[in-house]
Protein backbone atom coordinates (compact mmCIF):
# COMPACT_ATOMS: atom_id res chain seq x y z
CA UNK A 1 0.00 0.00 0.00
CA UNK A 2 1.49 3.37 -0.90
CA UNK A 3 2.02 5.53 2.19
CA UNK A 4 1.12 9.18 2.33
CA UNK A 5 3.76 10.57 4.58
CA UNK A 6 7.30 9.52 3.99
CA UNK A 7 8.27 10.10 7.60
CA UNK A 8 6.66 10.77 10.96
CA UNK A 9 8.69 11.63 14.06
CA UNK A 10 7.69 10.90 17.63
CA UNK A 11 9.41 12.92 20.35
CA UNK A 12 8.47 11.32 23.68
CA UNK A 13 10.52 10.08 26.62
CA UNK A 14 7.96 7.42 27.56
CA UNK A 15 8.77 4.23 25.62
CA UNK A 16 5.39 2.71 26.42
CA UNK A 17 3.60 5.61 24.81
CA UNK A 18 5.94 5.62 21.82
CA UNK A 19 5.50 1.89 21.34
CA UNK A 20 1.74 2.23 21.31
CA UNK A 21 1.72 5.29 19.08
CA UNK A 22 4.09 3.71 16.61
CA UNK A 23 1.82 0.71 16.48
CA UNK A 24 -1.21 2.85 15.82
CA UNK A 25 0.50 4.85 13.10
CA UNK A 26 1.55 1.64 11.43
CA UNK A 27 -2.01 0.36 11.68
CA UNK A 28 -3.23 3.47 9.90
CA UNK A 29 -0.75 2.88 7.13
CA UNK A 30 -0.34 6.58 6.62
CA UNK A 31 3.39 6.82 7.14
CA UNK A 32 6.40 5.21 5.58
CA UNK A 33 9.07 5.64 8.20
CA UNK A 34 8.53 6.32 11.88
CA UNK A 35 11.41 7.91 13.78
CA UNK A 36 11.30 7.80 17.53
CA UNK A 37 13.43 10.14 19.64
CA UNK A 38 13.23 10.03 23.42
CA UNK A 39 14.55 13.54 24.00
CA UNK A 40 14.24 16.96 22.48
CA UNK A 41 18.00 17.20 22.18
CA UNK A 42 18.22 13.99 20.17
CA UNK A 43 15.39 15.10 17.96
CA UNK A 44 17.11 18.41 17.19
CA UNK A 45 20.34 16.61 16.48
CA UNK A 46 18.58 14.40 13.96
CA UNK A 47 16.83 17.29 12.29
CA UNK A 48 20.13 19.09 11.79
CA UNK A 49 21.89 15.97 10.55
CA UNK A 50 22.58 14.86 7.01
CA UNK A 51 20.32 11.86 7.53
CA UNK A 52 17.41 14.24 7.88
CA UNK A 53 18.03 15.59 4.43
CA UNK A 54 17.27 12.19 3.03
CA UNK A 55 14.48 11.30 5.38
CA UNK A 56 12.76 14.38 6.69
CA UNK A 57 9.67 14.07 8.88
CA UNK A 58 6.71 16.00 7.51
CA UNK A 59 4.84 15.35 10.72
CA UNK A 60 6.29 15.61 14.23
CA UNK A 61 4.44 14.60 17.36
CA UNK A 62 5.86 16.43 20.36
CA UNK A 63 5.26 15.61 24.03
CA UNK A 64 5.45 18.40 26.62
CA UNK A 65 6.58 16.74 29.82
CA UNK A 66 10.03 15.34 29.23
CA UNK A 67 13.08 15.38 31.48
CA UNK A 68 15.94 17.55 30.32
CA UNK A 69 14.65 19.60 27.43
CA UNK A 70 10.87 19.71 27.67
CA UNK A 71 8.47 20.35 24.79
CA UNK A 72 8.49 24.13 25.18
CA UNK A 73 12.25 24.30 25.27
CA UNK A 74 12.37 22.12 22.16
CA UNK A 75 10.14 24.60 20.35
CA UNK A 76 12.48 27.44 21.29
CA UNK A 77 15.39 25.57 19.79
CA UNK A 78 13.42 24.44 16.74
CA UNK A 79 12.64 28.09 16.09
CA UNK A 80 16.36 28.69 15.64
CA UNK A 81 16.69 26.14 12.86
CA UNK A 82 16.71 27.02 9.20
CA UNK A 83 13.43 28.52 8.11
CA UNK A 84 13.35 26.11 5.20
CA UNK A 85 13.64 23.23 7.61
CA UNK A 86 10.86 24.63 9.76
CA UNK A 87 8.27 25.00 7.07
CA UNK A 88 8.85 21.54 5.78
CA UNK A 89 7.33 19.99 8.89
CA UNK A 90 4.23 20.46 10.93
CA UNK A 91 4.37 19.89 14.65
CA UNK A 92 1.45 18.51 16.61
CA UNK A 93 1.59 18.56 20.39
CA UNK A 94 0.80 15.09 21.69
CA UNK A 95 0.56 15.20 25.44
CA UNK A 96 -1.28 14.04 28.53
CA UNK A 97 -2.19 17.56 29.57
CA UNK A 98 -5.40 19.14 28.30
CA UNK A 99 -4.73 22.20 30.40
CA UNK A 100 -6.13 25.22 28.56
CA UNK A 101 -3.05 27.16 29.57
CA UNK A 102 -0.89 24.71 27.67
CA UNK A 103 -3.18 24.82 24.64
CA UNK A 104 -2.80 28.58 24.58
CA UNK A 105 0.95 28.34 24.96
CA UNK A 106 1.18 26.04 21.97
CA UNK A 107 -0.78 28.45 19.80
CA UNK A 108 2.04 30.97 20.05
CA UNK A 109 4.22 28.98 17.67
CA UNK A 110 3.35 29.28 14.04
CA UNK A 111 4.81 25.87 13.22
CA UNK A 112 2.66 24.11 15.85
CA UNK A 113 -0.45 23.27 13.92
CA UNK A 114 -2.48 21.26 16.39
CA UNK A 115 -2.77 20.01 19.94
CA UNK A 116 -3.88 16.47 20.75
CA UNK A 117 -4.14 14.48 23.94
CA UNK A 118 -2.77 10.98 24.23
CA UNK A 119 -3.24 8.36 23.19
CA UNK A 120 -2.66 8.67 19.49
CA UNK A 121 -4.86 6.19 17.69
CA UNK A 122 -5.12 5.21 14.08
CA UNK A 123 -8.47 6.95 13.99
CA UNK A 124 -6.80 10.12 15.17
CA UNK A 125 -4.17 9.69 12.49
CA UNK A 126 -6.87 9.68 9.87
CA UNK A 127 -8.35 12.84 11.29
CA UNK A 128 -4.94 14.50 11.26
CA UNK A 129 -4.26 13.50 7.71
CA UNK A 130 -7.61 14.85 6.56
CA UNK A 131 -7.09 18.10 8.40
CA UNK A 132 -3.41 18.84 7.79
CA UNK A 133 -2.52 16.90 4.66
CA UNK A 134 -5.79 17.05 2.77
CA UNK A 135 -4.26 16.38 -0.58
CA UNK A 136 -2.55 13.28 0.70
CA UNK A 137 -5.34 11.95 2.90
CA UNK A 138 -6.78 8.62 2.05
CA UNK A 139 -10.07 7.62 3.58
CA UNK A 140 -9.44 4.42 5.41
CA UNK A 141 -11.51 2.42 7.77
CA UNK A 142 -9.46 1.13 10.60
Amino acid sequence: MPSNLSCVMLIDDNPDDSFFHEREIKKSGLAGAIIIKDSGADALEYLKSKAAKKLHPELIFLDINMPGMNGWEFLHEYNCLDKELQISSIIIMLTTSDNPADVEKAKKWSFVNDYKTKPLTSGLMNEIMAKHFPKMAMVEDV
Binding site: D16, F20, N65, T96, P119
Partner: protein, 409 residues
Protein backbone atom coordinates in the same frame (compact mmCIF):
# COMPACT_ATOMS: atom_id res chain seq x y z
CA UNK B 1 -59.01 178.99 123.29
CA UNK B 2 -61.37 177.01 125.40
CA UNK B 3 -64.31 178.29 127.08
CA UNK B 4 -63.71 176.12 129.91
CA UNK B 5 -64.24 177.31 133.15
CA UNK B 6 -61.11 178.31 134.75
CA UNK B 7 -60.10 176.04 137.39
CA UNK B 8 -57.03 177.31 138.79
CA UNK B 9 -54.83 179.78 137.27
CA UNK B 10 -51.57 180.41 138.75
CA UNK B 11 -49.25 183.05 137.66
CA UNK B 12 -45.75 183.31 138.69
CA UNK B 13 -46.40 186.57 140.40
CA UNK B 14 -49.00 185.39 142.62
CA UNK B 15 -47.16 183.15 144.51
CA UNK B 16 -49.73 180.92 145.06
CA UNK B 17 -53.15 180.53 143.99
CA UNK B 18 -56.34 182.36 144.59
CA UNK B 19 -59.40 180.91 145.96
CA UNK B 20 -61.16 179.37 143.22
CA UNK B 21 -64.84 179.81 142.88
CA UNK B 22 -66.27 181.92 145.45
CA UNK B 23 -66.04 185.27 143.67
CA UNK B 24 -68.61 187.51 142.43
CA UNK B 25 -69.87 187.63 139.02
CA UNK B 26 -67.64 190.48 138.08
CA UNK B 27 -64.75 188.84 139.48
CA UNK B 28 -65.72 185.87 137.68
CA UNK B 29 -66.04 187.77 134.58
CA UNK B 30 -62.84 189.51 135.14
CA UNK B 31 -61.33 186.42 135.92
CA UNK B 32 -62.84 185.08 132.91
CA UNK B 33 -61.52 187.87 130.96
CA UNK B 34 -58.13 187.52 132.40
CA UNK B 35 -58.30 184.00 131.61
CA UNK B 36 -59.38 184.73 128.19
CA UNK B 37 -56.78 187.41 127.92
CA UNK B 38 -54.23 184.95 129.06
CA UNK B 39 -55.52 182.57 126.68
CA UNK B 40 -55.38 185.04 123.96
CA UNK B 41 -51.96 186.02 124.87
CA UNK B 42 -51.05 182.49 124.90
CA UNK B 43 -52.64 182.12 121.67
CA UNK B 44 -50.88 185.05 120.27
CA UNK B 45 -47.73 183.69 121.59
CA UNK B 46 -48.54 180.64 120.08
CA UNK B 47 -49.35 182.27 116.89
CA UNK B 48 -46.20 184.11 117.03
CA UNK B 49 -44.45 180.85 117.56
CA UNK B 50 -46.41 179.52 114.84
CA UNK B 51 -45.47 182.36 112.64
CA UNK B 52 -41.95 181.96 113.51
CA UNK B 53 -42.23 178.34 112.84
CA UNK B 54 -43.98 179.18 109.73
CA UNK B 55 -41.22 181.37 108.67
CA UNK B 56 -38.82 178.72 109.40
CA UNK B 57 -41.05 176.38 107.67
CA UNK B 58 -41.23 178.70 104.77
CA UNK B 59 -37.58 179.04 104.64
CA UNK B 60 -37.32 175.38 104.90
CA UNK B 61 -39.92 175.15 102.25
CA UNK B 62 -38.13 177.51 100.03
CA UNK B 63 -35.07 175.54 100.63
CA UNK B 64 -36.97 172.52 100.00
CA UNK B 65 -38.35 174.01 96.86
CA UNK B 66 -34.95 174.91 95.81
CA UNK B 67 -33.97 171.47 96.52
CA UNK B 68 -37.01 170.24 94.75
CA UNK B 69 -36.06 172.14 91.73
CA UNK B 70 -32.66 170.69 91.93
CA UNK B 71 -34.20 167.47 92.36
CA UNK B 72 -36.52 168.22 89.47
CA UNK B 73 -33.63 169.15 87.32
CA UNK B 74 -31.84 166.09 88.35
CA UNK B 75 -35.02 164.26 87.80
CA UNK B 76 -35.22 165.52 84.27
CA UNK B 77 -31.70 164.43 83.71
CA UNK B 78 -32.52 161.30 85.43
CA UNK B 79 -35.61 160.97 83.30
CA UNK B 80 -33.59 161.54 80.19
CA UNK B 81 -31.20 159.04 81.46
CA UNK B 82 -34.09 156.83 82.34
CA UNK B 83 -35.58 157.33 78.93
CA UNK B 84 -32.28 156.44 77.47
CA UNK B 85 -32.06 153.56 79.79
CA UNK B 86 -35.53 152.61 78.84
CA UNK B 87 -34.54 152.80 75.27
CA UNK B 88 -31.63 150.66 75.99
CA UNK B 89 -33.83 148.45 78.01
CA UNK B 90 -36.18 148.33 75.10
CA UNK B 91 -33.32 147.31 72.85
CA UNK B 92 -32.11 144.92 75.41
CA UNK B 93 -35.64 143.66 75.69
CA UNK B 94 -35.83 143.13 71.97
CA UNK B 95 -32.46 141.45 72.01
CA UNK B 96 -33.59 139.48 74.95
CA UNK B 97 -36.70 138.42 73.11
CA UNK B 98 -34.60 137.29 70.19
CA UNK B 99 -32.23 135.64 72.58
CA UNK B 100 -35.19 134.08 74.30
CA UNK B 101 -36.55 132.85 71.00
CA UNK B 102 -33.13 131.54 70.19
CA UNK B 103 -32.97 130.01 73.61
CA UNK B 104 -36.42 128.58 73.17
CA UNK B 105 -35.32 127.16 69.85
CA UNK B 106 -32.14 125.87 71.42
CA UNK B 107 -34.21 124.39 74.15
CA UNK B 108 -36.43 122.84 71.56
CA UNK B 109 -33.37 121.38 69.87
CA UNK B 110 -32.01 120.26 73.19
CA UNK B 111 -35.27 118.54 73.87
CA UNK B 112 -35.09 116.91 70.45
CA UNK B 113 -31.53 115.85 71.14
CA UNK B 114 -32.62 114.74 74.56
CA UNK B 115 -35.44 112.76 73.03
CA UNK B 116 -33.07 111.29 70.46
CA UNK B 117 -30.57 110.60 73.17
CA UNK B 118 -33.27 108.83 75.09
CA UNK B 119 -34.06 106.69 72.10
CA UNK B 120 -30.36 106.20 71.51
CA UNK B 121 -29.89 105.20 75.08
CA UNK B 122 -32.78 102.80 74.88
CA UNK B 123 -31.22 101.41 71.74
CA UNK B 124 -27.87 101.22 73.45
CA UNK B 125 -29.41 99.59 76.45
CA UNK B 126 -31.06 97.10 74.08
CA UNK B 127 -27.79 96.59 72.25
CA UNK B 128 -26.02 96.03 75.49
CA UNK B 129 -28.63 93.50 76.46
CA UNK B 130 -28.11 91.78 73.13
CA UNK B 131 -24.38 91.93 73.58
CA UNK B 132 -24.74 90.36 76.93
CA UNK B 133 -26.92 87.66 75.46
CA UNK B 134 -24.36 87.12 72.72
CA UNK B 135 -21.61 87.10 75.27
CA UNK B 136 -23.51 84.53 77.28
CA UNK B 137 -24.14 82.47 74.15
CA UNK B 138 -20.51 82.83 73.19
CA UNK B 139 -19.51 81.60 76.58
CA UNK B 140 -21.69 78.57 76.16
CA UNK B 141 -20.44 78.09 72.63
CA UNK B 142 -16.86 78.32 73.81
CA UNK B 143 -17.52 75.76 76.49
CA UNK B 144 -19.10 73.59 73.86
CA UNK B 145 -16.11 74.13 71.59
CA UNK B 146 -13.71 73.21 74.33
CA UNK B 147 -15.75 70.09 74.92
CA UNK B 148 -15.82 69.32 71.21
CA UNK B 149 -12.10 69.77 70.98
CA UNK B 150 -11.60 67.39 73.83
CA UNK B 151 -13.88 64.92 72.11
CA UNK B 152 -12.02 65.39 68.89
CA UNK B 153 -8.74 64.78 70.58
CA UNK B 154 -10.18 61.63 72.09
CA UNK B 155 -11.53 60.56 68.72
CA UNK B 156 -8.23 61.37 67.09
CA UNK B 157 -6.43 59.30 69.66
CA UNK B 158 -8.93 56.49 69.18
CA UNK B 159 -8.53 56.86 65.44
CA UNK B 160 -4.78 56.50 65.72
CA UNK B 161 -5.26 53.37 67.76
CA UNK B 162 -7.88 52.10 65.34
CA UNK B 163 -5.64 52.87 62.39
CA UNK B 164 -2.75 51.04 63.97
CA UNK B 165 -5.11 48.15 64.53
CA UNK B 166 -6.30 48.42 60.94
CA UNK B 167 -2.75 48.50 59.64
CA UNK B 168 -2.01 45.46 61.74
CA UNK B 169 -5.18 43.74 60.51
CA UNK B 170 -4.29 44.59 56.95
CA UNK B 171 -0.83 43.20 57.41
CA UNK B 172 -2.37 40.07 58.87
CA UNK B 173 -4.83 39.92 56.01
CA UNK B 174 -2.04 40.28 53.53
CA UNK B 175 -0.12 37.52 55.28
CA UNK B 176 -3.22 35.34 55.25
CA UNK B 177 -3.85 36.19 51.63
CA UNK B 178 -0.26 35.36 50.76
CA UNK B 179 -0.50 32.11 52.71
CA UNK B 180 -3.79 31.34 51.03
CA UNK B 181 -2.32 32.08 47.64
CA UNK B 182 0.61 29.79 48.31
CA UNK B 183 -1.70 27.10 49.70
CA UNK B 184 -3.94 27.37 46.67
CA UNK B 185 -1.02 27.21 44.30
CA UNK B 186 0.27 24.16 46.12
CA UNK B 187 -3.15 22.57 45.95
CA UNK B 188 -3.50 23.35 42.29
CA UNK B 189 -0.08 21.98 41.64
CA UNK B 190 -0.84 18.91 43.69
CA UNK B 191 -4.12 18.28 41.91
CA UNK B 192 -2.50 18.81 38.56
CA UNK B 193 0.53 16.70 39.18
CA UNK B 194 -1.54 13.97 40.85
CA UNK B 195 -4.01 13.79 38.02
CA UNK B 196 -1.40 14.13 35.34
CA UNK B 197 0.97 11.61 36.78
CA UNK B 198 -1.89 9.22 37.47
CA UNK B 199 -3.10 9.50 33.93
CA UNK B 200 0.12 8.30 32.43
CA UNK B 201 0.28 4.80 33.92
CA UNK B 202 -3.47 4.50 33.52
CA UNK B 203 -3.09 5.24 29.88
CA UNK B 204 -0.37 2.68 29.58
CA UNK B 205 -2.67 0.06 31.11
CA UNK B 206 -5.47 1.05 28.79
CA UNK B 207 -3.27 1.12 25.70
CA UNK B 208 -1.64 -2.21 26.39
CA UNK B 209 -5.00 -3.79 27.11
CA UNK B 210 -5.89 -2.79 23.59
CA UNK B 211 -2.67 -4.14 22.22
CA UNK B 212 -3.16 -7.36 24.11
CA UNK B 213 -6.69 -7.73 22.85
CA UNK B 214 -5.75 -6.99 19.27
CA UNK B 215 -2.83 -9.35 19.20
CA UNK B 216 -4.40 -12.21 21.13
CA UNK B 217 -8.08 -11.90 20.30
CA UNK B 218 -8.08 -15.20 18.51
CA UNK B 219 -6.51 -16.95 21.47
CA UNK B 220 -9.06 -15.68 23.96
CA UNK B 221 -12.09 -17.54 25.17
CA UNK B 222 -15.32 -15.97 26.39
CA UNK B 223 -14.25 -15.71 29.99
CA UNK B 224 -10.98 -14.09 29.02
CA UNK B 225 -12.80 -11.56 26.98
CA UNK B 226 -15.25 -10.92 29.85
CA UNK B 227 -12.37 -10.31 32.25
CA UNK B 228 -10.66 -8.00 29.80
CA UNK B 229 -13.92 -6.14 29.39
CA UNK B 230 -14.18 -5.66 33.14
CA UNK B 231 -10.60 -4.35 33.24
CA UNK B 232 -11.33 -1.99 30.40
CA UNK B 233 -14.44 -0.62 32.05
CA UNK B 234 -12.57 -0.06 35.28
CA UNK B 235 -9.71 1.77 33.60
CA UNK B 236 -12.18 3.81 31.66
CA UNK B 237 -13.94 4.76 34.84
CA UNK B 238 -10.67 5.62 36.52
CA UNK B 239 -9.74 7.79 33.61
CA UNK B 240 -13.02 9.66 33.84
CA UNK B 241 -12.59 10.15 37.57
CA UNK B 242 -9.08 11.49 37.19
CA UNK B 243 -10.15 13.85 34.42
CA UNK B 244 -13.08 15.01 36.55
CA UNK B 245 -10.78 15.59 39.49
CA UNK B 246 -8.43 17.56 37.32
CA UNK B 247 -11.23 19.67 35.85
CA UNK B 248 -12.68 20.22 39.31
CA UNK B 249 -9.36 21.43 40.65
CA UNK B 250 -9.11 23.85 37.75
CA UNK B 251 -12.62 25.25 38.13
CA UNK B 252 -12.59 29.01 38.02
CA UNK B 253 -9.04 29.38 36.78
CA UNK B 254 -8.75 32.33 34.45
CA UNK B 255 -12.36 33.19 35.02
CA UNK B 256 -13.65 36.61 34.08
CA UNK B 257 -16.90 38.42 34.75
CA UNK B 258 -19.03 39.41 31.82
CA UNK B 259 -22.55 40.77 31.36
CA UNK B 260 -24.56 37.77 30.22
CA UNK B 261 -28.16 37.21 29.17
CA UNK B 262 -28.83 34.01 31.08
CA UNK B 263 -31.69 33.05 28.78
CA UNK B 264 -29.26 33.05 25.88
CA UNK B 265 -26.81 31.03 27.98
CA UNK B 266 -29.45 28.43 28.79
CA UNK B 267 -30.47 28.17 25.16
CA UNK B 268 -26.84 27.48 24.27
CA UNK B 269 -26.75 24.70 26.88
CA UNK B 270 -29.97 23.26 25.48
CA UNK B 271 -28.44 23.33 22.02
CA UNK B 272 -25.34 21.53 23.30
CA UNK B 273 -27.51 18.87 24.93
CA UNK B 274 -29.66 18.49 21.85
CA UNK B 275 -28.94 14.81 21.36
CA UNK B 276 -29.66 13.91 24.97
CA UNK B 277 -32.85 16.01 24.98
CA UNK B 278 -34.13 14.45 21.81
CA UNK B 279 -33.34 10.90 22.86
CA UNK B 280 -35.05 11.35 26.22
CA UNK B 281 -37.99 13.28 24.82
CA UNK B 282 -37.48 15.87 27.53
CA UNK B 283 -39.39 19.15 27.47
CA UNK B 284 -37.69 22.22 28.86
CA UNK B 285 -39.59 25.37 29.76
CA UNK B 286 -37.54 28.50 30.30
CA UNK B 287 -39.16 31.59 31.86
CA UNK B 288 -37.96 35.19 31.64
CA UNK B 289 -34.34 35.25 32.75
CA UNK B 290 -32.20 38.18 33.83
CA UNK B 291 -29.02 39.64 32.44
CA UNK B 292 -26.25 40.11 34.97
CA UNK B 293 -22.53 39.94 35.50
CA UNK B 294 -21.39 36.34 35.92
CA UNK B 295 -18.59 33.97 34.97
CA UNK B 296 -19.89 32.96 31.57
CA UNK B 297 -18.35 29.55 30.83
CA UNK B 298 -18.56 28.48 34.47
CA UNK B 299 -22.29 29.26 34.68
CA UNK B 300 -22.67 27.37 31.41
CA UNK B 301 -21.40 24.29 33.24
CA UNK B 302 -23.84 24.82 36.10
CA UNK B 303 -26.89 24.84 33.87
CA UNK B 304 -25.50 22.01 31.79
CA UNK B 305 -24.99 19.82 34.85
CA UNK B 306 -28.38 20.63 36.36
CA UNK B 307 -30.27 20.05 33.14
CA UNK B 308 -28.34 16.86 32.45
CA UNK B 309 -29.15 15.55 35.89
CA UNK B 310 -32.79 16.50 35.50
CA UNK B 311 -32.99 14.48 32.30
CA UNK B 312 -30.92 11.53 33.53
CA UNK B 313 -32.65 11.07 36.85
CA UNK B 314 -36.10 10.86 35.36
CA UNK B 315 -38.85 8.43 36.31
CA UNK B 316 -39.31 5.43 34.11
CA UNK B 317 -41.96 5.80 31.42
CA UNK B 318 -42.45 9.44 32.30
CA UNK B 319 -41.64 12.28 29.98
CA UNK B 320 -39.04 14.44 31.70
CA UNK B 321 -40.46 17.93 32.19
CA UNK B 322 -37.98 20.58 33.24
CA UNK B 323 -38.74 24.14 34.26
CA UNK B 324 -36.20 26.91 34.64
CA UNK B 325 -37.02 30.27 36.22
CA UNK B 326 -35.48 33.14 38.17
CA UNK B 327 -36.60 35.51 40.91
CA UNK B 328 -35.02 38.69 42.21
CA UNK B 329 -34.80 38.71 46.00
CA UNK B 330 -33.40 42.01 47.35
CA UNK B 331 -30.04 42.10 45.57
CA UNK B 332 -29.70 38.48 44.59
CA UNK B 333 -31.11 36.47 41.71
CA UNK B 334 -32.45 33.05 42.72
CA UNK B 335 -32.27 30.65 39.81
CA UNK B 336 -34.33 27.45 39.91
CA UNK B 337 -34.21 24.25 37.86
CA UNK B 338 -37.11 21.95 38.58
CA UNK B 339 -37.86 18.47 37.28
CA UNK B 340 -40.38 15.68 37.63
CA UNK B 341 -37.78 13.00 38.19
CA UNK B 342 -37.12 10.39 40.83
CA UNK B 343 -36.34 12.94 43.53
CA UNK B 344 -33.87 12.78 46.41
CA UNK B 345 -34.58 11.76 50.00
CA UNK B 346 -34.06 14.64 52.43
CA UNK B 347 -31.42 12.74 54.42
CA UNK B 348 -29.16 13.02 51.38
CA UNK B 349 -29.68 16.74 50.80
CA UNK B 350 -26.27 17.62 52.25
CA UNK B 351 -24.37 14.82 50.63
CA UNK B 352 -25.44 15.41 47.05
CA UNK B 353 -22.99 18.26 46.69
CA UNK B 354 -20.02 16.20 47.82
CA UNK B 355 -17.44 15.27 45.28
CA UNK B 356 -17.92 11.84 43.69
CA UNK B 357 -21.11 11.28 45.70
CA UNK B 358 -23.49 9.11 43.85
CA UNK B 359 -26.73 7.97 45.36
CA UNK B 360 -27.56 5.49 42.64
CA UNK B 361 -25.94 2.27 41.69
CA UNK B 362 -23.32 2.64 39.02
CA UNK B 363 -25.35 0.82 36.46
CA UNK B 364 -28.41 3.03 36.72
CA UNK B 365 -26.81 6.18 35.45
CA UNK B 366 -23.66 7.48 33.89
CA UNK B 367 -21.75 10.34 35.29
CA UNK B 368 -18.72 10.91 37.37
CA UNK B 369 -20.62 12.07 40.42
CA UNK B 370 -18.93 15.42 40.23
CA UNK B 371 -21.67 17.43 38.50
CA UNK B 372 -23.28 18.86 41.65
CA UNK B 373 -19.95 19.38 43.38
CA UNK B 374 -18.95 21.39 40.30
CA UNK B 375 -22.18 23.41 40.49
CA UNK B 376 -21.55 24.12 44.16
CA UNK B 377 -17.98 25.24 43.61
CA UNK B 378 -18.96 27.53 40.76
CA UNK B 379 -21.91 29.04 42.66
CA UNK B 380 -19.55 29.68 45.57
CA UNK B 381 -17.12 31.39 43.21
CA UNK B 382 -19.98 33.80 42.55
CA UNK B 383 -20.42 34.24 46.32
CA UNK B 384 -23.81 32.56 46.07
CA UNK B 385 -25.53 29.58 47.64
CA UNK B 386 -26.97 26.37 46.21
CA UNK B 387 -29.65 24.22 47.82
CA UNK B 388 -32.52 21.98 46.85
CA UNK B 389 -36.08 20.88 47.50
CA UNK B 390 -37.20 17.41 46.65
CA UNK B 391 -39.88 14.81 47.18
CA UNK B 392 -38.93 11.24 46.23
CA UNK B 393 -40.94 10.00 43.26
CA UNK B 394 -42.32 13.47 42.64
CA UNK B 395 -39.47 15.68 41.59
CA UNK B 396 -36.66 17.97 42.54
CA UNK B 397 -35.94 21.69 42.35
CA UNK B 398 -32.39 22.96 42.58
CA UNK B 399 -32.08 26.62 43.62
CA UNK B 400 -28.98 28.75 43.56
CA UNK B 401 -28.48 32.40 44.31
CA UNK B 402 -26.17 34.80 42.51
CA UNK B 403 -25.51 38.39 43.60
CA UNK B 404 -27.11 40.81 41.16
CA UNK B 405 -24.04 42.49 39.69
CA UNK B 406 -24.92 44.82 36.90
CA UNK B 407 -22.08 47.26 36.90
CA UNK B 408 -18.34 47.03 36.97
CA UNK B 409 -16.92 46.70 40.47
Amino acid sequence: MSSEPLKYVSSPQDGGGMPPRQSTKKQTKAEELIAAYKVLAYEIEEKGKRAAELMIANTELAFQNGEKENRAAELIVANIELAFQNDEKGKRAVELMIANKELAFQNGEKENRAAELLIANKELAFQNEEKEKRAAELLIANKELVFQNEQRKKRAAELIVANKELVFQNEEKEKRAAELFIANKELEQFAYVASHDLQQPLRTVSNYMKVFEEDYVTKLDDNARKYLNTVNKATERMSILIKSLLDFSRLGQNRSLSYVDTKELINEVIADLDALIKSSGAVIEVSEMPSLKIYDSEMHQVFQNLICNAIRFCKKDTQPRIKIWAKLIVNEWKFSVGDNGIGIAPIYFDRVFDIFQRLNKDSESEGSGIGLATCKKIVQLHHGNIFLESIPEVGTIFHFTIPNLKHAK
